[in-house]
């Protein structure tokens, strides 16, 4: 004869177990609760591998720490809704991001000030991102650049200005980025070319409409992977992407980069930084130690080299093979552009709406 269990007792015990589980989830919080552990979010591929390698070094040389890694799903901006949904009970301690995403985090006041990181003083102040109080809140690990480029074998006439994109020989061969990709910098480049700026994108939109009507746009969006795949396979020939993308494409096809075009105001290298941001919380002190560790000259040189970008620490040496993507000091004034991300961010909603209502319909009709 088995145990005496009535339906009432069964339902009551299930309800009690459910309540206990719910209490654990609500009260237990989301943060890593082990003594020395961190939860980090970064991009996949070379970024996470390099971060893991530095994490192992940190754990053996500085402080034994267990790291758990999560990958960004799509763009880094996708992490913002996840953080907001559970703030301040967030499970992440350290988040890899870049300029426009950091500005979103600063608006929400999520970031720990990092002015006391010893290695930050070796990073030029121009690469710091500061909060509303003027305090640095990021540990920038690498410099990257976005630029126009094309498959040399698929483009018959060399491109020397953005106006050349209207040439009929480029029918269906140009990739446009969705505005949220790369913080609408492709549109900014078009605005600059025709006398505009981040504050006045109208010349950029005028040209974009002309380009959409021309029938030369073959694809919209796709992110980094879409850019690399589409260009490598020859689906598109001309695009605007990160230096790391062009390095990947170059392994399979000859590429001409348009980041050193003296006659063009829009064909430049649009620079941005990537690195660590520390979310305010109980693990901030440990996360700051790790971020500082990554910022040392040797570690920054290793990280930037591993992902194919330029280091930010002035004592770190850039990889010589990357010289075509980054500038010598005398080239910076002529060819580099440092976008005003807060200005772009404040207009992003309008930019997306204009792209959806004014540009995509023209591409579809062309």
């Amino acid at each position: 004869m088995g145990p005496d269990v009535s339906r009432r007792k069964f339902i009551a015990s299930v309800a009690a177990a459910g309540a206990a589980s719910a209490a654990t989830v609500v009260l237990g919080g989301g943060r890593a609760w082990a003594a020395d552990s961190l939860v980090g979010v970064t991009w996949g591929g070379a970024q996470v591998e390099a971060s893991k390698a530095l994490a192992e070094k940190f754990s053996s040389q500085v402080k034994p720490t267990t790291f758990a890694w999560e990958l960004h799903q799509g763009g880094a901006a996708n992490i913002l809704p996840k953080i907001r949904a559970t703030w301040p009970q967030v499970k992440y301690d350290i988040v890899a991001a870049w300029d426009p995403v950091w500005h979103g985090m600063i608006q929400e006041d999520w970031l720990e000030p990092l002015g006391d990181l010893p290695n930050l003083k070796d990073v030029p102040e121009r690469f710091w991102t500061k909060d509303r109080q003027g305090r640095p809140v990021t540990a920038p690990l690498n410099l990257a650049a976005l630029m126009w480029g094309y498959r040399t074998d698929l483009v018959k006439k060399p491109i020397a200005s953005l106006k050349d994109l209207l040439d009929p020989s480029l029918k269906g061969l140009i990739m446009l980025n969705a505005p949220v990709s790369y913080s609408a910098l492709q549109i900014v480049s078009m605005a600059l070319e025709f006398g505009g700026s981040e504050k006045n994108l109208e010349p950029g939109f005028d040209f974009l409409k002309e380009l959409a009507r021309s029938g030369n746009v073959g694809r919209v969006g796709g992110g980094d992977i879409g850019h690399i795949n589409s260009t490598t396979t020859g689906e598109i020939a001309v695009g605007f992407g990160a230096s790391t993308n062009w390095q990947g494409i170059q392994k399979s096809a000859a590429v001409t980069l348009l980041n050193r075009v003296p006659s063009s105001k829009g064909l430049r290298g649009f620079h941005y930084t990537e690195g660590w941001s520390i979310l305010r919380g109980p693990k901030a002190a440990l996360a700051k130690e790790y971020a500082n560790f990554c910022l040392s000259p040797a570690n920054d040189e290793y990280y930037a080299g591993a992902i194919g970008a330029g280091p930010t620490n002035s004592k770190a040496k850039p990889t010589p093979e990357l010289s075509r993507y980054f500038y010598q000091p005398d080239e910076i004034e002529r060819f580099a552009y440092f976008p005003d991300f807060p200005v772009i961010n404040s207009q992003m909603q309008g930019i997306v709406k204009r792209f959806e209502t004014e540009i995509v319909p023209l591409i579809r009709k062309a």
């Binding site: 901006a77 979103g104 919209v220 589409s230 396979t233 961010n345 992003m348 909603q349 995509v360 579809r364």
Partner: protein, 281 residues
Amino acid sequence: MRLTRSAALLLAAVLVVFLGLYVFPLATLVRESFKVYRSGRIGGLAGTFTLANYAELLTPAYAGYFLDTFRIGFIATALGLVVSYPIAHFVARGRGRIRTLWIALLVAMLFVGTLIRAYSLALTFGPVGILLPVSRFLGVSPNSLTITELVVIAGLLHYVIPLMALTLIGTIHNVNPALELVAQSLGAPRWKAFFTITVLLSGRGILSAFLLGYALTISSFVIPMVLGKGIVLFATNLIFNRFSELAHYPGGAAIAVVMLLLSFLIIYGIVRVVSRRLEPA
């Protein structure tokens, strides 16, 4: 029939789950759609109210996106029905091992993730697949709107055919095959007996399969995202862009609410029209 205490308790538990996981999130979504959004912030501003998120959608461009969603979804569902009915008929009338094998095959297709299927189509119809030489032969750009829409429809078909076929198998199985034989013995040609007996009697099942397929196609997100090349956009893609990339929750919520209302109206209309025709005279 009186509700016993334990039945009431169980029903209450189900109701709590339904309210908590369905009604409450929907209500939150509707509330979010009326909040003010500031560019650069995450989500709507608490305590605000505006109709601007809905007013933004009153443009021909957004009407076009909704129209595309319902149009392409309808085409894919109709084609899916045409393909899945013969499959279901073959399986329903089959016997023993053949029948079991086909049902297992249809179910197995459901286990293959949508993303995998979408990317397999992207490879097949992409620049390294068969599409490039075929489109060059036909003199059509593989990046043209027509080709892109066709590839999206192919992706949706891949998605709905197994489900629609499985839905129809039971319905067709319940139609006595002897009725067709009787009609033929009274002089009706085979095709006429098939359409006027079997197809007509499985009408409600066809309607169910169509509604299931249509709901899946218009709510599809991965397939237009992977295969649409940013040119063919469904309402779901607009919603994703706003929630995930722009953190513009109010805008995404407004599109979701409009989509929900339009879907309800369209599906209600279809059910009413078809049900009237299926009612006995």
